[in-house]
């Protein structure tokens, strides 16, 4: 393996849950000789796939946290991030995409483009990540790679082109025809480790020629040289590859590769494709904000000689202490180098530097530009940027959604409480969508996240990794309060209890505000409130927003206009105006027609068409609105908008209703108004709670 940047690939493997990407990663590790035996995800051998390093993932048969690993193929160094497929964990997918240069989109040859594929595709688009497609599970009954290619065009709007043809399908899937070289590939040996090249089977010759034509047509759009060569009948393998590569880098062409990871077919050609068609770090433009120049964006130089810039994108608590995964964007890192964390200003010294392979690691002396490695003993948070001395850059912050579900947890004993604190500290650092706080009213520890499953996984990790046994309450939705109309306030705060008094008067109005969570405007003239105290008023209003009077959730969408007021030359103070503003808000709030808002999720249910009716019913029982239902032969997809509060336990309901044949994904869509009957229930509950809390 040489140290040249052109020999590196940083790829992600993104897919719909259950398209077999963990099995695929497992096979890649095997063929790159990183592991010596293959295991299955839901393996009978009790070992589980190597990439699912956490016990929990082994147990559930799904990937949760991205494990990163480095392999060598054809003299190139490939860093692979195995990304999770469930929507609850998309922050992981998004973080991976931020640090990767390209991706392999895995599709199931039966399921094709599914709801999660659409989410992942949107993320690839957002971060402008070039990718190739791999249609897996060609050995399955109902496999149809041609349909999947069509869906890549029809559903995702990509120009997709087959690079291979299957030789046989389903039970008789034997091998592939390489449409660039026009040869047949078979995968011999117990684990498909020997690739045997043969002539294209006679029966497939005509179709192969036709598909090759399509491939050449699509590729020639990206290379004049190839177009010319085609006209003159001298198109070479290298010219075709170069044209496809250009199309991929421009995100204008998606080459589609085929195989069955489970049957050990098609993996080596896919690895060749990663090397041949996906970009190296030097071909991808990365930017960072220059904090010394007012946040102006600068393009980073993928130059090993430049000063170092690296991004910490993932933290993990391993058996040997905190492990910080970083991607080097500029320059290089050596043991003993000094770096600055530009968020905290802290200086660190590079200690142990390792290259990761699932949960084993190799110590290295230096990390070069473009590499993904891990550091030991560095105190930082996910998303921090490290720079060489003299630089002050911040890599673009990663889009972090607000949590929508919370859960009260209580440690079962004192020992668990100590361990719990440690676990929470770790998790919040690792995952920006996971948050925690202590509710001052109930004194309970609250954890917040992106969904029920998201929080479930953390509760289990508390038990397994930290031996912190906790009791959990019912998951709670992150409600919001908002106002429905304008309301005026005029409040005087006066206190005279010996010593310095307090005096402040604020007059103004609250207005509904649709452009954001909060806006404050002052129309106070003639020094009726001294200028110094205007920010105190704003501070007071902001504080009041944190807890609405209806059910105690944050108030959003309010504009406060301060019109007039009064002060006392001695008794007025910052604190007096803050207090007055808070009380004024409370005074006006109930007159402003306050209402409750709840998170509404975009829910997509996919399954056999025969269950569509039952699915419709589950949606309408949950106060959901069905937006559309699509039936395509035997498969149906229902898209709906459903309040999150109604979605708890839906996975179980859906599973039992459809004998496990349907699945759903959901993501946050918007805040919608809580209908009056539900709002009343919530307010009643709040009232009961406040009655039951005994004053200390």
């Amino acid at each position: 393996m040489n140290g040249d940047i052109a020999s590196m690939r940083n790829i992600g493997i993104s897919a719909h849950i259950d398209s077999g990407k963990t099995t695929l990663t497992e096979r890649i590790l095997f063929y790159c000789k990183k592991i010596h035996k293959v295991h299955e995800v839901k393996g009978r051998d009790g070992v589980g796939a190597t990439m699912d390093s956490m016990d929990l993932e082994r147990e559930r048969g799904i990937s949760i946290a991205s494990a990163t690993t480095n392999v060598a193929w054809a003299g190139r160094s490939i860093n692979i991030i195995d990304t999770p497929g469930h929507v609850d964990f998309t922050i992981e997918v998004e973080r991976s995409l931020r640090v990767l240069d390209s991706a392999v989109l895995v599709l199931c040859s039966v399921g094709g483009v599914q709801s999660q594929t659409i989410t992942v595709d949107r993320q690839l688009r957002r971060y402008n990540v070039p990718f190739i497609a791999f249609v897996n599970k060609l050995d399955r009954v109902g496999a149809n790679p041609f349909k999947v290619r069509d869906q890549l065009e029809a559903k995702l709007g990509h120009r997709a082109v087959l690079m291979q043809l299957p030789i046989g399908l389903e039970g008789s899937f034997e091998g592939l025809v390489d449409l660039v070289r026009m040869t047949a590939l078979y995968f011999d040996g117990a684990d498909g480790e020997t690739v045997r090249v043969g002539p294209v089977p006679g029966g497939l010759a005509a179709e192969a020629a036709r598909k090759r034509e399509e491939l050449l047509d699509a590729a020639s759009l990206h290379s004049d040289e190839l177009t010319e060569a085609l006209l003159e009948g001298r198109a070479t393998e290298a010219l075709v590859q170069d044209a496809v590569r250009r199309g991929v880098l421009a995100r204008k062409l998606v080459p589609v590769f085929l195989g069955s990871a489970y049957r050990n077919k098609g993996i080596q050609p896919l690895l060749d494709a990663v090397v041949d068609y996906l970009p190296h770090p030097g071909e991808v433009e990365n930017r960072a904000a220059d904090l010394d120049a007012g946040g102006v964006e600068r393009v980073l130089a993928p130059d090993p000689a430049a000063k170092a810039v690296a991004l910490a994108f993932k933290l993990e608590d391993g058996p040997y202490g905190q492990l910080t995964y970083i991607r080097v964007y500029q320059g290089g890192l050596r043991k003993g180098d000094e770096l600055v964390n530009t968020r905290s200003g802290q200086r660190i010294k590079v200690g142990r530097l390792v290259r990761m392979h699932a949960d084993t690691m190799v110590e290295i002396g230096e990390a070069r530009c473009g590499e993904i490695v891990a550091l030991f003993g560095v105190d930082c948070a996910s998303g921090d940027t490290f720079c060489g001395p003299g630089l002050n850059l911040a890599m673009t912050s990663i889009h972090v959604p607000e949590p929508v579900v919370s859960l009260a947890i209580a440690p079962v004993d004192k020992a668990a409480a100590d361990r719990l604190a440690k676990a929470l500290g770790r998790f919040t650092k690792e995952d920006p969508t996971f948050r925690t706080h202590v509710d001052p009213e109930s004194n309970q520890t609250i954890i917040q996240g992106m969904g029920e499953l998201h929080l479930d996984v953390y509760v289990e990790r508390m038990k397994r990794e930290y031996r912190a046994e906790v009791a959990t309450g019912m998951p709670q939705v992150a409600y919001r309060e908002a106002i429905g109309r304008q309301a005026d306030f005029d409040y005087t705060h006066r206190k005279q209890t010996g010593g310095a008094g307090q005096y402040a008067r604020v007059i103004g109005r609250l207005e509904p505000f649709s452009k954001g969570a909060f806006e404050f405007a002052s129309e106070v003239r003639g020094g009726r409130i001294p200028r110094d105290f205007i920010p105190s008023c704003e501070k007071g209003f902001r504080a009041a927003l944190k807890k609405g009077a209806l059910i105690g959730f944050p108030v959003t969408g309010v504009r406060v206009v301060l019109v007039d007021g009064n002060f006392h030359p001695v008794d007025s103070s910052d604190l007096a105006f803050q207090t007055a503003a808070q009380a004024a808000f409370k005074q006006a709030y109930m007159g402003a027609k306050p209402r409750l808002l709840e998170p509404v999720m975009k829910v997509s249910v996919e399954g056999p068409a025969e269950f569509a009716g039952s699915v419709f019913a589950t949606i309408s029982q949950r106060r959901g609105t069905i937006v559309s239902s699509v039936e395509d032969g035997t498969v149906s997809r229902v898209d709906a908008e459903v309040p999150l509060a109604e979605m708890f336990g839906y996975a179980t309901v859906l599973r039992s209703l459809t004998q496990g044949k349907a699945e759903f994904t959901m993501e946050f869509l918007k805040y919608g108004r809580v209908p009056a009957p539900q709002a009343e229930v919530l307010m009643e509950r709040r009232l009961e709670r406040s009655r039951s809390v005994t004053p200390r």
């Binding site: 009716g613 039952s614 419709f616 019913a617 309408s620 937006v627 559309s628 239902s629 699509v630 039936e631």
Partner: protein, 245 residues
Amino acid sequence: MTFTVKDALIKRSPLRVLEKSISGGLGMGNLGVLASRKGVGKTACLVHIAADKLLQGKPVIHVSYASRVDHIMTWYEDIFRELAKAPKMSAALDEFDELIRNRVIMNFRREGARTEQVLRSLEAMIVHAGFRAEAVIVDGLDFALAGPGELRLFKDFAGRLGLEVWFSASLKGEEPLFDERGVPRELEPCLPAIDVLISLQHHGDHVHFNLVQDHGRLAPRDLRLRLDPTTLLIEEARGPARQTL
């Protein structure tokens, strides 16, 4: 306040003119068909009919056989945006989100979509999911393929569930498309199952509506309605009635 504006919009709608011409409306249990060549504006008319129902708070199911559903949603957004241009309507149509909750799009891919299956899914939506639709829009049914048999299934279904169902029928044959009574020749076999049949024809810049059959009676007549080519809304035609076949 907003309701009176909305009421006025409903009252002034050119669709009231249509209803008057067809004995007070299509009516529950009945099938209406808009027929023309491809690209004349049938979908626009159907979406306008659906939007008019939604404004009245009546739930609508829009059945389509297209490959994508997002452009159907855009149709609705566009038509509501056009309607909102009526004086004082913009505030009322802030309720677009609310109105659109009463619409479900059900999409069936042409290949696998037998009418029995479509009706089964419709029934599931209306009966099991409790979506009490009053009108169903069926855009893109292939009448040549469906024939009178499948249309009769629709008719029975509409009668059983108390729905009015509006179809678009794309005419593909050679000229002349219509017989001497104004009946599209391709639809002749289906005529007994159709209650209201309207043909759309280009006339100058505009598309005009001809009533062909009104609740079983063949009564060719200019409906004095046309499709505005820019807004794609149905509007009242001015000037004298045209001679129809």
